[in-house]
């Protein structure tokens, strides 16, 4: 078991004393809010890298190899920016066997060390025995032994995840229907801020309810016929608004209700909760069930979720699908190959968008607009029948 031991050693480096640790992690959408809550309640110091931007991307592209996918470039930029801001412990999860994601940390570690940074990398596996691994990783960086703090941290973290997910879902629903343009967006931003500032477990538990109440107050046109479009594709691109060029907002402003099946809170709950406490049918299980006609096995990444969601959407009256993925993403290329047939047999319009660091926004918007026109016309025809 020589290799396994070596693997373990590189996963959790331990060169910096616990009290000096300043922790950072890569950005993806708004996961900084719950993770910060968790780590702070375990008594750690954290640094949050600045949001993904053109500047970050440039740093990432400069320091990574040509053929790697977009999420890695941004992750690396986050690390560099965090290290510049004084972080010395980098955290990241990995899921071996899914795709190149499993190699991200190894590559980043090597690249950053060769750039001359001094830091500890703490990696936790999301393959099997996830809760144990995750707890171990958080113990490793904080050396906190107080169970109450763990309870507080995890319940704060989870509740914040759920709150953000709820706010996002409501935002998707309200944005195309709102009477005063910009109301929903403002409300969302406000609640993100409140979520970030909440510091007690009771307060965090109330968040979800409060958010629902508050969104109800926004005046909307309830009878408006709004086409529904599913966003599917690669995890990171879906959740990171910079990478997907804020596609949700663009669609919302075109008067389209966006729905997304991949939500960070749901995913995390499924991954971390021990199976005896998890009674619902998880997103993955549902996808496997729906995708059966087209795919017989999971092939890594979110390929089977993509196909399963498309079939699910077609069966539940969704008007169109937009599939987004980073350039040269292996599982999503397989999905792209399968989607035309699904689209034809289930009778649902599907558009695949491939994103890389050179995607121009104008061309991207034109394609989306054309697609939405198609969806709307199809909806009209269906209604007139």
């Amino acid at each position: 078991m020589n290799t396994a031991e070596k693997l373990e050693k590189t996963k959790m480096e331990n060169t910096i004393p616990t009290k000096d640790r300043i922790i950072a992690w890569p950005r993806m959408g708004r996961i900084d809010i719950p993770l910060k809550a968790l780590l702070v309640s375990l008594g750690a110091k954290v640094v949050i890298p600045p949001p993904n931007s053109n500047e970050a991307l440039e740093i990432g592209v400069r320091n990574s190899i040509e053929g790697i996918c977009l999420p890695y470039k941004l992750n690396l930029a986050n690390y560099i920016m965090a290290l510049e801001k004084g972080a010395n412990t980098l955290m990241m999860f990995q899921a071996p066997g899914s795709c190149r994601l499993g190699n991200y940390t190894k590559m980043a570690q090597k690249t950053l060390k060769s750039m001359g940074y001094k830091f500890d990398m703490v990696i936790f596996d999301m393959y099997k025995s996830k809760m144990k691994q995750t707890l171990h990783a958080f113990w490793h960086v904080t050396h906190c032994i107080n169970p109450w703090r763990y309870y507080k941290g995890f319940s704060l973290g989870f509740n914040k995840f759920f709150a953000i997910d709820t706010a996002e879902r409501l935002l998707f629903y309200t944005r195309p229907r709102e009477l005063n343009k910009g109301d929903a967006e403002k409300c969302y931003e406000k609640w993100l801020k409140i979520t970030d500032e909440t510091n007690s477990v009771i307060g965090a538990k109330k968040l979800k309810k409060q958010i629902i109440e508050d969104f109800k107050k926004i005046p909307i046109d309830k009878d408006k016929k709004v086409p529904i479009v599913y966003l599917i594709g690669e995890f990171f691109v879906l959740l990171d608004p910079y990478t997907n060029q804020n596609i949700e907002k663009e669609l919302g402003e075109m008067g389209v209700e966006v729905q997304r099946q991949i939500m960070f809170g749901d995913w995390l709950e499924h991954v971390l909760k021990p199976s005896i406490f998890y009674h619902k049918e998880s997103h993955r299980e549902r996808s496997v069930r729906y995708a059966k006609k087209y795919m017989k096995r999971a092939i890594g990444g979110e390929c089977i979720e993509t196909i399963g969601d498309t079939v699910y959407a077609a069966k539940h009256g969704v008007d169109g699908i937009i599939h987004i993925s980073p350039f040269s993403c292996m599982p999503e290329i397989v999905a792209q190959n399968i989607l035309p047939k699904v689209s034809q047999e289930e009778d649902i319009p599907v558009m695949s968008l491939v994103l890389d660091e050179q995607t121009g926004k104008a061309g991207y918007l034109t394609r989306i607009e054309a697609f939405i026109d198609l969806v709307k016309r199809k909806q009209l025809r269906k209604n007139s029948k």
């Binding site: 020589n2 290799t3 070596k6 693997l7 590189t10 190899i65 040509e66 053929g67 790697i68 996918c69 071996p96 066997g97 899914s98 795709c99 190149r100 499993g102 190699n103 190894k106 590559m107 090597k110 060769s114 393959y127 087209y294 795919m295 017989k296 096995r297 092939i299 890594g300 990444g301 390929c303 350039f327 040269s328 292996m330 599982p331 290329i333 397989v334 792209q336 190959n337 399968i338 035309p340 047939k341 699904v342 695949s352 491939v354």
Partner: protein
């Protein structure tokens, strides 16, 4: 109904290049006639490219072309394995894992797909893989399957033994299928030698690799490939450069390159990969990092369906010229050094003489 399958088609792509001797032994022992698709041509690539989306890499386009070729030949059953992982947490590229899924959804023609899964992470062993394939051609007799597996291994081992003694890929394949064991005893010494790190399906397909091996041999370069490295050597080589195996076909690439990097048998390393290949982008980067540290020259050749042969040759010739110049300069330096060493010895002697004479005085 299913037992009527008498012929099984194997596309001449992807896992054919690594496992065909086994497949041949296995299926012919089961009493099936093995039909191969024709060798890759530009037409195969074009035919395949028609069916899959443009982002798909070249080997998958070639694979689709070969499946179409088999269908044109009138094959009813086609063997399309899904090799998910070859060890615990050692997974394959998504596209190879999803080969049956791609083919099922892009080709709308009726045929029987024999699609066994090999997934050691989920405890589906190679034996299960063989049983699955036998079952889907309608053979359930356990003893017969067991016999077929050992027949498969026999052919495969013969092939392996020949390639590791230095017999070329196509020669070894031909002989293994005929049941002959040929060994190469004479090792020709050539001025230069290089190791190629590439997937078997890229390197041994003459169309995809644009005859890379033959081109190098014409330039008087001895070529080492993954076939010359045993599994154990590859694993220990990966260990020795401090890497961890992550991809199923990492032994072919990182393993081979690391083996030749550490034993100093070669003057340079050539990395050959298809454009947009996910695993290769990481593995080649890894190796180029180690090559830089060890001072080993490395060239990364990328191929896609448009690769022009002229540009390819130019890059190759430049690389070989560079290697030659490097070797020459090292050799001349060495000979200079030995002369210098001789001079130093002389001066020492002279000094000794002087001292000696001085002391005598």
């Amino acid at each position: 109904m299913k037992s009527e399958i008498k012929k099984i088609g194997i596309p001449r792509a992807i896992s054919y290049y690594n496992n065909y001797p086994f497949y041949y032994g296995f299926f012919s022992s089961l009493g099936l006639e093995v039909v191969l698709s024709d060798k890759t041509t530009t037409k195969t690539i074009n035919e395949g490219a028609k069916y899959v989306v443009s982002d798909t890499c070249l080997p998958i386009k070639v694979y689709t072309g070969h499946v179409m070729n088999l269908l044109h030949k009138g094959c009813e059953a086609i063997f399309i394995p899904s090799i998910q992982s070859t060890g615990y947490k050692i997974n394959n590229c998504s596209k190879i894992r999803g080969l049956p899924e791609i083919i099922r959804n892009v080709i709308n023609k009726p045929f029987i797909m024999v699609e066994p899964t090999l997934d050691k992470t989920e405890n589906i062993s190679f034996k299960d893989f063989c049983i699955q394939s036998a079952n889907s051609v309608g053979i359930f007799d356990k003893d017969k399957i067991k016999q077929a597996i050992s027949d498969g291994w026999r052919v495969y081992n013969m092939f392996l033994e020949m390639t590791q003694s230095g017999v070329s890929y196509s020669e070894a394949l031909d002989n293994a299928i005929k049941g002959k064991l040929v060994k190469k005893t004479i090792d020709i010494v050539k001025p230069l030698s290089v190791a190629i790190m590439a997937h078997g399906y890229n390197l041994f397909d003459d169309r995809i690799s644009l005859n890379l091996i033959k081109k190098l041999e014409k330039m008087d370069v001895k070529v080492y490939t993954s076939l010359n490295v045993s599994r154990q050597d590859a694993i220990s080589a990966i260990d020795s450069i401090g890497e961890i195996q992550y991809w199923a076909n990492e032994l072919e690439l990182t393993g081979t390159a690391a083996h030749y990097l550490t034993n100093e048998k070669v003057d340079g390393i050539i990395a050959l990969s298809a454009f947009g290949c996910g695993p290769d982008s990481l593995m080649v980067e890894e190796i180029s990092y180690h090559c830089k540290e060890a001072g080993m020259p490395l060239i990364h050749l990328t191929i896609d369906e448009h690769t022009g042969e002229a540009g390819f040759i130019t890059r190759l010739e430049a690389f070989v010229d560079m290697l030659l110049r490097k070797k020459r300069s090292i050799l001349t330096k060495q000979s200079d050094k030995t002369e210098e060493d001789a001079n130093i010895e002389n001066t020492v002697e002279i000094k000794e003489e002087r001292i000696l004479t001085g002391s005598v005085k």
